[in-house]
């Protein structure tokens, strides 16, 4: 499934801005931005993006908790989620996958390849599903 719209969730405004520009200008994607887990839940249900790029360490509602809530809501349960984290050791990546995440993009990410990385992860997931 071609990716058109991304929900970008990060509490750091600078990271949000860089990722936003990268996804929009380099990746030619429509980007919806959320600054917290709570906002992400709201925007996701309303915008129904093709994929959620979800930061792990956020105050109040962190990445994994937000992910659980998205999964719990039938409206958002099937939307693939990719975690973005500085904790990207192999076993940590496996732990996120075990939660049901589509993949993990380690921080710091390369802004020139971010959109391509998102597409690659999703197509790999599709291939595995097929």
């Amino acid at each position: 499934m071609p990716v058109k719209k991304v929900l970008l969730v990060d509490d750091e405004p600078d990271i949000r801005r860089i990722a936003h520009i990268s996804l929009q200008r380099v990746g030619k994607l429509a980007v919806v931005v959320a600054a917290s887990g709570a906002q992400a839940l709201e925007l996701c249900a309303r915008e129904l993006p093709d994929v959620v790029l979800l930061d792990v360490m956020m105050p109040e509602l962190d990445g994994p908790s937000t992910f659980q809530r998205l999964r719990a809501d039938p409206a958002t349960a099937s939307i693939p989620v990719i975690f973005m984290t500085a904790k990207a050791q192999k076993h940590e990546v496996e732990a996120f996958r075990a939660l049901g995440a589509a993949g993990v993009i380690p921080k710091p990410f390369d802004p020139l390849t971010l959109a391509a990385d998102v597409r690659r992860i999703l197509s790999a997931g599709d291939a595995a599903a097929a």
Binding site: E12, D14, R17, I18, V26, P111
Partner: protein
């Protein structure tokens, strides 16, 4: 010749003998030695056969002679005293007088002298009985008695002074008695000592040897510890060797005493004998010197039996001295240990009985727990555990008893109930027969250390997140700029943006390396070892680095000569291999090739992975620095290559965490080979050798 024996008692009166004269004649014919002299000159008037037999003289010599003319009495004055007494009419009975036979043999007679009247003249009648044998026996007995009482006294003194092993008086008294009994001037008893400088003699008793003030001063100084004689090439040394020395100066016997007594030369006569302990081993030596004449064998036979007692006494004294020295050393060692234990404030050293009850409690235990020793002695160790884990105490004691020791890090309770974290080592103390005598518990308060560890973990976690977040933004922004997302850049701006981006990437690597190293050093890097096929891992790592190699115009080639599987964490091995290949590429000149090779290691159960470059090589003296932290050999060059200075330190830590080894061989001017060895998995991969040429 005048018949001295038969002639009448009164030659002037030719008359028949009186009854008393007849009785006297009967006596003269009897076995008792009798001689009759006048009372003025003492000239012999009558002597009988028995007298002649006793003295060895014949009638011709004895008749009419005075004892002085015969040179009879050894002590003429004593004989004269007897005569004077008889002259006054007082008989003398059972006196002992030494006399000399005609042959010159000195003998002893038991003498009685009676005043008699013969032919109307006063006379002295001498009755002599040979007492030589008895006298000798009595003198011998006297000498032996003297030595025996000295020995007996010495033994009782020794028992009385046994608490003072240095006390020398007992042996001094024995030596004195021996010197007196043998009419010697000088004597020494010395014990054999096996010191650090070899065998030597140490005087235990010295007598009669101080002849000058200097000698006396030396002896006084050394009286307590004894004089030492290290040169044993003399009569004393030979006596220690088991020989009995008996000699007179000038007879060819070596009589030198190695300088003993101080200041004296060789003695005129000498007797030296080894002294043996109860087991027969030589424990020392006795020497007696300067007896007038010589040391006769009979004299030595007389006192010989006492040498055994001397040896036994010397042995006992030496044994006691050794025991006391050992006890003293033990007491000092215990005292040092006690001071050490008491002085330790940071560690609680607690001794427990076999049931786990406190028997001793040092100052460290007081300062950690807040309890004084007098409060807790006899208390069970479980009293210092939190209530919910009090049962652990017995389990830990049991474990220490079974396994020898038990180490735990757990909570304990201070006086007042406050809890603290304790690092505890409990060691079972058993005697030589393996019987449990108690436990030693060493406890350290690690509450502060645990807090520090937690703070450090938190700090690292914060650093990893907080540093990376702005770096992510910087790197992202620079990446977008250099990628032309913000529009085309003029060449100089593009160069500056690239420079900033490269350095931000280097900063990211540095943070990652520091975090990795911290994790390893804190023991928090957990390995997930599994069987790895070398070929697959090498291939994928090389493929990932082909772009980097191409950028540096370096060719990459790899071969696997040992396909046995490693038992290792694939991510970590990849990290190490990536680091080594990146280094090799960075330091290779353009056009050179880097070779990765897996081969059998010399050590069994391992295989070796090596990365060979054609770089400048590393001088031997610098090779050992390579695997330290921040050890780039040529700072400017290494910085140009973008290294962090931690890569090889991390590689070393990772390889060692696997139980492997890492190293480098280098030929300056020709290149280096970095290698590491990993343990093999029990499961073997295909032994097929794979070889892959450099990129076509």
């Amino acid at each position: 010749m005048m018949d001295l024996l038969r002639r009448p008692f009164d030659e002037r009166a030719d008359r028949p003998e009186s009854a008393s004269e007849q009785m006297l004649r009967l006596l003269l014919d009897g076995p008792l030695a009798i001689a009759i002299s006048d009372v003025t000159e003492g000239r012999w008037q009558r002597v009988n056969h028995a007298f002649l037999a006793l003295t060895g003289f014949d009638e011709a010599h004895a008749g009419g002679a005075t004892p002085a003319e015969m040179n009879l009495w050894l002590d003429g004055a004593a004989a004269a005293r007897l005569m004077r007494s008889v002259r006054r009419g007082t008989p003398q009975r059972d006196r002992y007088l030494g006399f000399r036979t005609r042959d010159g043999v000195e003998c002893v007679a038991q003498v009685s002298v009676e005043p008699v009247e013969l032919g109307g003249r006063p006379m002295a009648m001498w009755l002599l009985a040979d007492a030589t044998a008895r006298s000798l026996a009595e003198r011998a007995l006297h000498r032996q008695n003297e030595v025996l009482s000295a020995l007996t006294l010495a033994q009782s003194q020794w028992i009385g002074h046994a608490e003072q092993p240095q006390h020398r008086a007992p042996l001094d008294a024995v030596l004195d008695a021996l010197v007196r009994a043998t009419d010697s001037r000088f004597g020494v008893i010395a014990r054999l000592d096996a010191g650090e400088e070899g065998l030597c003699l140490v005087s235990c008793a010295l007598t009669g040897c101080a002849r000058t003030d200097d000698d006396r001063a030396v002896l006084a100084r050394h009286r307590r510890h004894g004089l030492e004689l290290h040169d044993l090439d003399n009569a004393l040394g030979r006596a220690v060797g088991g020989a009995r020395i008996l000699g007179v100066r000038g007879d060819g016997t070596d009589l030198s005493l190695g300088g003993w007594p101080p200041g004296a030369g060789e003695p005129a006569t000498l007797f030296a004998t080894p002294l043996c302990g109860p087991g027969g081993a030589v424990v020392g030596v006795l020497a007696l010197a300067d007896r007038a004449g010589a040391y006769p064998t009979w004299l030595l036979e007389e006192i010989g039996p006492f040498f055994t007692a001397c040896g036994t006494l010397l042995h006992a004294q030496e044994e006691l001295r050794r025991r006391r020295t050992a006890e003293q050393a033990l007491r000092e060692s215990e005292e040092r240990f006690r001071l050490l234990v008491d002085g330790v404030e940071d560690y609680a050293l607690i001794m427990l009985d076999p049931y786990g009850r406190v028997t001793s409690w040092n100052r460290g235990a007081e300062s950690i727990t807040g309890y004084g020793a007098e409060e807790v002695t006899g208390m069970h160790i479980s009293g210092f555990y939190p209530p919910e884990s009090a049962a652990e105490a017995q389990r830990e004691l049991d474990r220490a008893q079974v396994e020898g020791r038990c180490e735990v890090e757990a909570e304990r309770v201070r006086r007042g109930g406050a809890r603290y974290w304790a690092s505890v080592t409990l060691t079972a103390l058993c005697d030589a027969n393996g019987v449990l005598r108690g436990f030693a518990q060493l406890t350290r308060d690690v509450t502060g250390k645990r807090q520090l560890d937690r703070m450090k973990d938190e700090f690292v976690s914060i650093v990893s997140h907080e540093l990376r977040t702005p770096l992510t933004a910087i790197r992202g922004a620079l990446g977008l700029l250099s990628g032309g997302v913000g529009g085309d850049l003029d060449p100089m701006t593009a160069e500056l943006v690239d420079l900033a981006r490269d350095n931000s990437e280097r900063l990211v690597r540095l943070i990652n390396d520091i975090l990795d190293l911290q994790k390893i050093e804190a023991g928090k890097m957990s390995l997930r070892p599994q069987p790895i096929a070398p070929a697959a891992l090498v291939k994928s790592t090389v493929e990932q680095l082909r772009a980097l190699a191409a950028e540096n115009q370096v060719e990459l080639a790899w071969s696997v000569e040992d396909g046995a599987a490693w038992h290792a964490d694939p991510d970590r091995v990849t990290q190490v291999l990536t680091n080594l290949i990146s280094n090799a590429v960075a330091f290779s000149p353009p056009g050179a090739s880097v070779t990765v090779r897996v081969s059998p290691a010399q050590a069994a159960g391992r295989s070796r992975l090596s990365v060979t470059d054609r770089g400048p090589g590393i001088p031997e003296e610098l090779r050992r620095l390579l695997f330290g932290k921040f050890q780039q050999l040529d700072g400017s060059d290494a910085r140009k290559k973008g290294g962090t200075g931690l890569g090889l330190a991390i590689c070393k830590a990772i390889v060692e965490l696997h139980g492997g080894a890492i190293g480098v061989d280098s030929d300056v001017g020709h290149g280096s080979t970095f290698w590491f060895e990993l343990p093999l998995s029990s499961a073997l991969c295909s032994g097929r050798a794979d070889r892959h040429p450099a990129d076509p």
